[in-house]
């Protein structure tokens, strides 16, 4: 066989799909389920770079024949990804309203709804493929989050691919996947590396050393194919070397085109390549023939992103700058349609062209911000600022403030604060007093979020004074609101009320809707905080006004206010309703700053309801995001779940909660943490530690009828200390218990919907029946330490025959193996011979022979290896 035919045959062979039958079957089954039930599903396809995710889906699409029902979208590794990139790809094929909404710059929730509507009524199931979501922008993930939840409504299989080896613990996609959790309509497919056998089959036509190929590639399909296609006598060490070896076999001019594609791509249009390289179309033939480049209509792309990386990394700096500059010039005046801002920004940065950076990057950032892609917007502003040293101070300050605002939305408060401080410095230099005041007021909010109330209060007051001198307008209302909210954080509602009232009067005078809504919410908050029902009504009215006016941040903020205030007052149903409404509202509306805070509150609400699995799950979601104030609540919920169950390590979360709460210097953060720590110490039987755990929460002004304050009194009492009950809190269920009215306390807790606290209140009882009820409830809840305390009290009172715990669930033994066979099975699975098993179980070898053949028969397998695999699959080995 000649070299070229051998290589052609080999190329065909490498593109055959090996060892992906199971994954193709999984996709097939999903599609069949969707078609049969008309109810959609989501498949997550994960694998390392080069695992063959795209190839798998291409194969699946081809097997299904017709292409008109397949919609594809891609994410690209640009320095700041195109906002909603994959949905822009889909839009042309999906058509209808979705395309209009996207070009109009609609918000993610509107786009998700449109997508779902468009997929409905297509007559047959659609396949929506979204690729490489590890590079997705924030707005895309918002659409995905909503669409994933609503895909059940339509007949569609949505497939999302991502590189699981590139998701750090806080990658937004990982958080999203965690939130999706386990549900019937979600299927996870992970692409394993190829086995040695498969690698050997691929290597054979090349006459390559299969063991060496396998050792070098670890079975990564892409690396295997590159390595074999490189055709070098020496096997290259890395993927990149393998790719470059393959490229080296092309002519110089063809390599030039490869480089241009790598810079212009991921998808490079033919017209663009014409502008970058002489005779591009002639060179293209060979590039496609080499198998490195694939063509799709009027654009081309590398067959794999890893190859593009390798080629791009090997270009000389000088040539790279030139290619970026040429691409920038060409893309600024495309033959059709409007220039693509994200790409202009990308190439401006790549070309190191300061003027172009300052022209296109802020514009791209503003567009990303408008679409809700805040992370991308922030990183674009940051990029623009790198070249902004020579800009006029005012323009620089504008960029800095916009960057701060974007960072705020995805809870990077430290970056926001740093940027805002620089903006303030610019305004000071300019002597712009009003802007200084407004910027300082906003900075005070950021300083507060990062954790320093005292400094924030000082700034807010200074800003109010400064603005007061110049403005009678919105800046002044905003400054008063800021002071009022911080006074509330300092637990001084009377002072807060004064400021809120001034803000409200001024706002009404101005008649500017946003100022009116903001002041109304703040005044309502102060009133509701002190228990006035009128305050709640005022906030609810503000929500209606804000909704009608489309003030999205205000709507979400008002739900947050009601949730946290109601939860503190133990009005759990009210809090739960608003947490839910707030989350629904935030979803897809680029208001992530409140999402994780609301989820943290939900976790505390579930804890109060005794639903510990849910509390722990929600806490986990919230902790996936580095939002400092959401973390404290989530950590308290997680620590208490562990402490109440008697699970290991309640103190890691509780220690972190304390460490984050202390520097904030606020009662609202420190008191719940201190109470939780006192509770955990009590459950561990360390009653003497309670006093010192409560110490940090003392010394704050305390009001009557505040559950945060009564909890401190209660735990002091449990710790054998003087409770010092705050006045006016006699009906608080905790203090009823302190007063010995345990039955009444338990009733109160039941009415509040708190089964754990109700059972705990009965522990103080002197009545055996009540104690037994307490014990039984605590056992049902899985509250091991508290149940042990109840049981000890009963035993001390001479009770006998206490239940040891609720009846446990047992599980099915699907294969119907006997007890003896179940004993033999794990030994067999470990690979032991019958003689060994016989010795272990002290029976004759003949008996073991019988058992083994019975096991093989019942599991319907031929070999011992298969028996082990089948037993694992059935869960027969993991049930012990």
């Amino acid at each position: 066989m000649s070299t070229s035919t051998q290589s052609a045959a080999a190329h065909r062979h490498t593109s055959a799909l090996l060892e992906r039958d199971r994954e193709l079957d999984q996709l097939e089954q999903c599609l069949q389920r969707v078609e049969a039930s008309s109810s959609g599903m989501l498949a997550l396809v994960a694998g390392e770079a080069g695992a063959g995710k795209t190839v798998l889906l291409r194969e699946f699409g081809e097997r299904k024949g017709s292409r008109e029902w397949v919609f594809q979208g891609f994410c690209e590794p640009l320095s700041a990804p195109r906002p909603l990139g994959p949905f822009l790809d889909l839009a042309d094929a999906v058509g209808g309203e979705m395309r209009e909404l996207l070009s109009a710059g609609a918000k993610p929730h509107a786009i998700a709804s449109a997508l779902v509507r468009e997929l409905d009524d297509r007559g047959r199931a659609s396949l929506v493929v979204l690729e490489d979501l590890q590079w997705a922008d924030e707005a895309t993930l918002d659409v995905l989050r909503l669409a994933a939840r609503r895909v059940v409504e339509v007949s569609a299989l949505m497939v999302v691919t991502y590189r699981n080896d590139e998701l750090g613990p806080w990658h937004p996609l990982r958080v999203l996947i965690g939130e999706l959790g386990a549900r019937q309509t979600l299927v996870r497919i992970s692409l394993a590396p190829l086995s040695f056998e498969a690698v050997a089959a691929l290597a054979a036509p090349f006459g390559a050393d299969a063991e060496a190929v396998y050792a070098r590639t670890g079975g990564n399909p892409f690396f295997v194919s590159e390595l074999l296609a490189g055709g070098e006598a020496e096997l290259p060490e890395t993927v990149s070397d393998a790719v470059l070896a393959r490229a080296a076999r092309l002519a110089k001019s063809e390599r030039g085109l490869l480089e241009a594609i790598s810079v212009a791509g991921p998808q490079a249009e033919l017209w663009l390549l014409d502008r970058l390289v002489p005779d591009a179309r002639e060179q293209l033939e060979q590039c496609i023939a080499s198998g490195m480049i694939v063509s799709s209509g009027d654009s081309v792309a590398f067959r794999h992103e890893l190859a593009r990386d390798a080629v791009a990394a090997a270009i000389s700096d000088h040539r790279k700058l030139a290619l970026h500059a040429a691409a920038l010039e060409a893309l600024a005046s495309p033959p059709r349609g409007e220039p693509d801002l994200s790409r202009l920004a990308h190439h401006a940065a790549g070309a190191g062209d300061r003027e172009a950076v300052l022209r296109f990057v802020p514009e791209a950032a503003a567009r990303a911000a408008k679409l809700g892609a805040h992370r991308e917007a922030a990183s674009l502003y940051e990029r623009a600022l790198r070249d902004a040293d020579d800009l006029p101070l005012e323009s620089r300050a504008g960029l800095l403030e916009r960057r701060a605002a974007e960072c705020y939305w995805f809870t990077d408060f430290e970056a926001a604060e740093q940027s805002q401080r620089q903006a303030l410095a610019c305004y000071r230099q300019l002597g712009e007093e009003l802007r200084q005041g407004a910027a300082l007021s906003w900075l005070s909010n950021l300083v507060w979020e990062t954790g320093s109330l005292a400094e924030a209060q000082q700034m807010a007051l200074q800003a109010a004074e400064q603005v007061e001198r110049i403005s009678t307008g919105r800046e002044r209302v905003a400054a008063y609101i800021q002071v009022a909210q911080l006074e509330l954080a300092a637990e001084r509602p009377d002072r807060a009320h004064g400021w809120a009232l001034r803000a409200s009067e001024l706002a009404d005078e101005l008649g500017r809707p946003r100022s009116v809504v903001g002041a109304m919410m703040t005044l309502g908050w102060v009133e509701f905080f002190t228990g006035e029902e009128a305050g709640l009504e005022r906030i609810e009215r503000a929500i209606e006004m804000a909704e009608a006016a489309g003030f999205e941040g205000e709507v979400a903020g008002a739900h947050v206010i009601i949730t946290r205030t109601a939860a503190r007052q133990r009005r759990y149903d009210l809090a739960g309703r608003h947490a839910h409404a707030g989350l629904e509202y935030c979803d897809g509306r680029d208001i992530d700053v409140w999402r994780y805070y609301l989820i943290a509150w939900q976790s505390k609400l579930e804890l109060a309801r005794g639903r510990w699995d849910d509390a722990a799950r929600l806490a986990g979601i919230s902790l996936g995001e580095p939002c400092p104030f959401a973390r404290v609540h989530a950590l308290v919920a997680l620590g208490l779940v562990r402490a109440r169950r008697g699970d290991p390590d309640p103190w890691t979360p509780l220690d972190e909660a304390l460490a984050s709460a202390l520097p904030r210097g606020e009662f609202q953060w420190i008191a719940p943490v201190a109470a939780a720590r006192a509770e955990a110490a009590w459950l561990e039987g360390r009653t003497d530690a309670i006093g010192s755990e409560l110490e940090p929460a003392l010394g704050f002004p305390m009001r009557g009828n505040d559950p945060y304050a009564t909890a401190l009194a209660y735990w002091r009492w449990r710790g054998g200390l003087e409770p010092k009950c705050p006045a006016g809190s006699e009906q608080d269920p905790l203090l009823l218990e302190v007063a010995g009215r345990w039955a009444q306390a338990a009733d109160s807790w039941r009415r509040l919907g708190c089964p754990y606290e109700a059972a705990l209140a009965l522990i103080a009882s002197d009545d055996d029946a009540a104690l037994r009820e307490s014990l039984q409830k605590l056992q049902t809840l899985g509250a091991r330490p508290a149940a042990a305390i109840a049981a000890r009290r009963l035993r001390e009172r001479g009770a006998r025959g206490l239940p040891r715990g609720p009846r446990s669930r047992t599980r099915a033994n699907p294969a119907g193996l006997t007890t003896r066979e179940l004993e033999v099975l794990p030994l067999l699975a470990e690979g032991r011979r019958n003689a060994e098993i016989a010795e272990r179980l002290v029976v004759s070898q003949r008996t073991v022979d019988h058992h083994v053949s019975a096991i093989l028969r019942k599991l319907d397998v031929r070999t011992r290896g298969e028996a082990a695999a089948e037993a694992t699959r059935l869960g027969l080995l993991s049930q012990r």
């Binding site: 986990g620 699970d647 290991p648 446990s808 669930r809 047992t810 007890t819 869960g875 012990r880």
Partner: protein
């Protein structure tokens, strides 16, 4: 990764099956364990088969409980443990 000892009680003994969980449900067990990053190391079973002591490597106690719930296994008590080797000192 922390190691945990998980105590489980099976009042009727391990071999009693209450309902047919179905092969499909069971087939997902391995994948579920892996999804939570939980590895079952090995177990000790009491002679009367009513109690098991199972050693797991898991990222958190919640992960142990989640896999237990998914696999329909009871959990009485989770203890974080380390290995003590008596011959280490000899």
């Amino acid at each position: 990764m922390p190691r945990y000892m998980v105590q489980r009680t099976f009042p009727e003994g391990l071999q009693i099956s209450i309902a047919n969980g179905g092969a499909e449900v069971c087939g997902a067990v391995i994948e579920r364990n892996a999804e939570e990053g939980v590895t079952w190391v090995h177990s000790y079973v009491s002679v009367d088969k009513r109690a098991t002591f199972c050693v797991y490597d898991a990222p958190s106690p919640e992960a142990v409980r989640r896999t237990a719930a998914r696999n329909q296994l009871p959990v009485d008590r989770i203890t974080q443990v380390r290995v003590l080797d008596p011959y280490f000192y000899s």
